[in-house]
Each structure stands twice: as structure tokens, then as C-alpha cells.
């Protein structure tokens, strides 16, 4: 049985809870909660991507677009129309769900790498729209003045408050996704990964499940986009380019695609690498990512989440 242990989740939740306090004690990492907010936002995307790619075996290179759609819908509706940010977040997710279903339905019917190609093209189109629809999006200069989040008079105006908000959502989404993986739905997704024809013959509605998981992962990316917009109060198209989609893939490849924990581990590491530790590499950052991807695919196909298994294997011998 595929069982995902509860204990590590509890430890992880505890770590999330005390991390800001820990960071306050050590001046060198005082600013880490800020980076953790970004890591949390990206985790929302990669948890869905892990379910889509690692479990169901469908490759998407266009999730930056769904991330961007969420961010821009939140940005446009709050700044131009003064709408409630939480309502905008919901509208963003609903619109993304429809867009994902429209993009996914024809391309998921095809086998192999067609979904990857279709999502790649989709991502590029959306990126062009963000750049060109200057009247709505502000074009390459971006869109400033996006308000912060307030819930029943409580303002998420400090890094720590936003940190708890985002990570609260990450934990909820993580637990939800873990439950899906452990259910009949998760089993059906893994069956589709292994053999679509056998899954179909056993009564799994292959097309429906593929669209369902694609839409789910897109909606999570949209939610992440809204959080991103309201945290930075500013967005511009460069954030949602093809390279970001690829970075998301590197995150789950490094962490380990076939394990939901991989999404968290890989996202955390890559976020800290790009926001903090790779600062000195400047333009050469991309080369480091390339090296990481090469290293992982050749030497650690299971990603970092597979390392405990490898170590266990040594002891068994």
C-alpha cells in the first residue's frame, strides 16, 4: 500500500511554526522568513505539479502561465475595480480552471509529449499577452499598487503574518494532496502513469482523470499567483516567463518527482539557491540549474526524496 507517514508531516508543520522565531534569534538568517514566503508560494505550484507529473505522468511546461493568470487577475481586479482581494483570488482560480480545461482537453487526449508541447506553446502565448496588453497589465513595466491582504480587519502586513498565511495554505494543500494520493483517485492516477490501456480496461476514465489533475494543478498555480501579487504588491511579466516554468520542473526533479515530499524539498532548496545562495553567480545562475538538473537525472533519478531509500539499501546489504 502506498502510505505516506503522518509523523514527518507533523514534524514539518512544527518546523514551519517555529521557524520565524528561530530566524529572529540568529542575525545571519533574520531575513529567511521573507524567502520562505516565496518558497511557500512556489510550493503551492509544485505540490500540484508533483501530482500531475510524478504521479499521473503528464508533463507540463506551462505552469508559469497559470501562476501569471492568477497574479494578473488579482492585480487587475483589485487595482482597476477595487474588488475584494479574496473574491479576486476565487475568480482567478475559477478562470484558470476553465482555461486549463480548455487547453487540457484536446492535448491530454494525445499520448506522449504532446501535452508538454501544448503547454509550452500556451505558456509563451500567455507571456506575450502579459507583455502586450499594456492597457490591462501595464506591459513590461509591470503593475504596481496591488493592495495587501486583509481578513476580517486583520492585516497580513508583516513578513511573519504573510508567512503564516501562505504556509497555512501550503500545509492544507499538502495534506489534501497526500489524501488524494492515498485514495482510489491516486491509485487511478498512478495506473494511468504505468499503462493507459490497462487503466482504461479496468474502468478508469483516463481522459477525465488526466483533465481533473491538470485543472487541479493549474488552480493551485493560480492561487499561488494571487498570493504572490498581494505579497509583492507589484508584478511584471518577466516573473511568468518560460524560464520560470522550467525552474518549477527543476524544483520537482531535484526533490524527486515520484514523491510528494520532493515538491517541498526541491522547492525550498531552489528558492533559497536563487534568492540567496547563488547571488554571486549572477548571470551564470542558469548554468548552476543546468548542472543540478544533469546531476539529478544521471545520479539521483528519484531526487533528494529518494536518498533515504538509497541509504536504507546500503544497510540491507
Amino acid at each position: 500500500m502506498l502510505r505516506i507517514a503522518k509523523f514527518p508531516i507533523a514534524v514539518f508543520a512544527l518546523f514551519i511554526l517555529v521557524f520565524p522565531w528561530m530566524a529572529r534569534q540568529i542575525p545571519a538568517i533574520e531575513h529567511y522568513p521573507d524567502i520562505m514566503v516565496f518558497a511557500g508560494i512556489y510550493c503551492l505550484i509544485t505540490i500540484g505539479l508533483s501530482l500531475l507529473m510524478g504521479y499521473a505522468g503528464q508533463i507540463s511546461i506551462g505552469h508559469a502561465a497559470f501562476f501569471g493568470i492568477g497574479a494578473y487577475i488579482s492585480g487587475i481586479l483589485t487595482t482597476n475595480y477595487g474588488m475584494n482581494p479574496w473574491v479576486c483570488m476565487g475568480i482567478g482560480m475559477a478562470v484558470t480552471a476553465v482555461v486549463a480545461a480548455l487547453v487540457g482537453t484536446p492535448s491530454l487526449k494525445l499520448k506522449g509529449h504532446y501535452l508538454a508541447m501544448a503547454t509550452l506553446a500556451f505558456g509563451i502565448i500567455i507571456f506575450i499577452i502579459f507583455n502586450e496588453e499594456i492597457e490591462w497589465t501595464g506591459g513590461p513595466d509591470g503593475m504596481p499598487g496591488i493592495p495587501g491582504l486583509i481578513l476580517f480587519g486583520f492585516e497580513f502586513d508583516s513578513v511573519e503574518r504573510y508567512y503564516y498565511l501562505v504556509w497555512g495554505f501550503v500545509l492544507a494543500v499538502f495534506v489534501f494532496t497526500v489524501n488524494v494520493i492515498q485514495s482510489g483517485t491516486g491509485r487511478a492516477l498512478r495506473a494511468i502513469h504505468a499503462s493507459e490501456s490497462a487503466a482504461g480496461a479496468m474502468g478508469v476514465d483516463v481522459a477525465r482523470f488526466k483533465i481533473l489533475v491538470f485543472v487541479y494543478s493549474a488552480v493551485l498555480a493560480s492561487l499561488a499567483g494571487s498570493f504572490y501579487a498581494h505579497y509583492l504588491n507589484f508584478i511584471n511579466p518577466a516573473t511568468f516567463d518560460l524560464f520560470f516554468s522550467i525552474k518549477l520542473l527543476i524544483m520537482i526533479a531535484l526533490g524527486g518527482m515520484h514523491n510528494i515530499w520532493g515538491a517541498i524539498i526541491g522547492t525550498g532548496l531552489i528558492t533559497f539557491l536563487s534568492n540567496e545562495w547563488l547571488y554571486y553567480f549572477e548571470e551564470f545562475e542558469v548554468i548552476v540549474y543546468g548542472a543540478i538538473l544533469l546531476f539529478v537525472t544521471v545520479l539521483l533519478p528519484e531526487g533528494l526524496a529518494g536518498v533515504p531509500g538509497i541509504i536504507k539499501g546500503w544497510f540491507r546489504r
Binding site: 500500500m1 485514495s183 482510489g184 483517485t185 491509485r187 487511478a188 474502468g203 478508469v204
Partner: protein, 259 residues
């Protein structure tokens, strides 16, 4: 056994299948009686697997009708046909290698699960309850096919003989009325073949109708109630084993030349 329409669980009429210019099946009619074991034999390329793929909904026939329990199914997708009560195995083993033996059979029970994405994400009691029931019935099936002690193993790690049995077990998960077995004894040694054929007999004894494609004539002659012989997509003989054994047309098709 009741008479009339109910007697034939599966009825094919005028089934034609062409791939480009190639005629894989031409104007094929045949029925499968409820509660029997029917074997389809024929030389390589006779159209046996094509026929299976049509019955199980991998693709629709070019022409003709397939009726299951009196209702047309030839236009339905594979998963809908599974819902109606037809299950199958594959000639080349198509197990879910990324899952355990138990999970493979549990996936076989999918038609009986019906959990929604939301219900499973929030772990609603109904979905947890269903999962428990499915697990129990999967374990029962594993006991029946003799793989109960390997339930935790990865499906990939089993030897071929057991993989073939597991495919049958997975196909039983949906509690089908008709099970289609595509060469269940291919690649098996004598002992394994014996195990497989007694298993097929046992499945049939429980009331499941069996349709089977097989090259091992000993197995076919021993367990089938009726045999359909195909050659180049045409029916050349149909009848009980003893009749087929002595049919000059069948001998000619297999051995070539004048009989």
C-alpha cells in the same frame, strides 16, 4: 440456465475491422453462451487480439455490432465497457509495475470505487469506508489466485508466471460477468500452465463467462466448452473441442497444404 436472449452473454454480428487496406476481421458472427468457456484459436495474424480489442473497447469496429447482455457496446470507450461487466487481460503483461501486487488488484476494483477527487482529498468517511472494503475484497482475490503472501511486493518483481496470474486477479477485481483472457499461458512452463488452467476453471465454476485466446492446444482442448477458429480474419470453424480437433479445415489452416 434461462433460454432465449439471456443465454448469449456476448453476441457479435457482421463485425468488420480494417486497418488502412488490411482487413483484420471480415464479417464475423459469433456468440458466447453465459457460463461457458469459449476459446478463440487461429494462426498468428488471424485477428484474435484485434477481436479482443474490439470487444473490450480499445477501438470500435469498422462495421458490425457487439452486444453484451442484449445491449450494443461497440461504440463505448474501454472504461464504460468495464463498467458494464467485461474485464480483460493483455497478451503482453500490462501490470502497473509502479504499484504493489495488492494495489494492482485494488485498481482492478476501480469500477466499484467511485470516489470523487474532493471526497478523497478531504478523507470523507464514505471514501475511507469504500477503500477498506476494496482492500478486503482485493485480499480475497489474492488468496483465490494464490498470491496472498506476496501482496506487499512490487508487481514488477514477480516472475512471469505470477505476473500472468496477477493480471487475471486484477481483471477479477471488477467482479465481471465476462472475462477476456489474452493468452494466459503464453511463456509459462508446464507447472505454471497447469496452475493457470485450473484457475480459469475455478473462475468459470463461480459463474463467470470466460472468453480466451490461447495458443497452447492442450489447455484449449482441456478447458473449453466451445472453440472458435479464425484464419485471416474469417471464421473457419466453430464447435466443441472434439469436433474442432477433427475438422479438416482447421488442420489445413494450421499445417498448410491439402488436408
Amino acid at each position: 440456465m434461462s433460454a432465449g436472449i439471456e443465454e448469449n452473454v456476448l453476441e457479435l454480428q457482421g463485425v468488420v475491422m480494417t486497418f488502412g487496406g488490411l482487413m483484420a476481421l471480415s464479417n464475423l458472427d459469433f456468440n458466447v453462451q453465459r457460463g461457458t468457456i469459449k476459446a478463440i484459436i487461429g494462426p498468428n495474424g488471424a485477428g484474435k487480439t484485434t477481436l479482443f480489442n474490439i470487444i473490450a473497447g480499445s477501438f470500435p469496429p469498422t462495421e458490425g455490432t457487439v452486444k453484451f447482455k442484449g445491449r450494443q457496446i461497440q461504440h463505448l470507450k474501454a472504461h464504460k465497457i468495464a463498467d458494464r461487466g467485461i474485464s480483460r487481460t493483455f497478451q503482453t503483461v500490462e501490470l502497473f509495475g509502479n504499484m504493489t501486487v495488492l494495489e494492482n488488484v485494488m485498481l482492478g476494483c476501480h469500477t466499484r470505487v467511485r470516489t470523487s477527487f474532493m471526497a478523497s482529498g478531504f478523507v470523507l468517511p464514505q471514501s475511507r469506508h469504500k477503500e477498506k472494503r476494496i482492500r478486503e475484497s482485493a485480499l480475497k482475490i489474492l488468496k483465490f489466485i494464490g498470491l496472498a503472501d506476496k501482496f506487499k511486493d512490487s508487481a514488477d518483481s514477480l516472475p512471469l508466471g505470477e505476473q500472468k496470474l496477477l493480471e487475471i486477479g486484477r481483471a477479477l477485481g471488477s467482479e465481471p460477468e465476462l472475462i477476456c483472457l489474452d493468452e494466459p499461458a503464453a511463456g509459462l512452463n508446464e507447472t505454471e500452465t497447469h496452475v493457470a488452467s485450473s484457475l480459469i476453471k475455478a473462475i468459470n465454476a463461480k459463474g463467470t463467462t470466460v472468453l480466451l485466446v490461447e495458443h497452447d492446444m492442450k489447455v484449449v482442448m482441456k478447458i473449453s466448452d466451445e472453440i472458435l477458429v479464425l484464419n485471416y480474419g474469417r471464421k473457419i470453424a466453430e464447435g466443441p473441442p472434439e469436433e474442432i480437433r477433427n475438422s479438416p479445415r482447421v488442420i489445413e489452416a494450421y499445417l498448410g497444404g491439402e488436408a
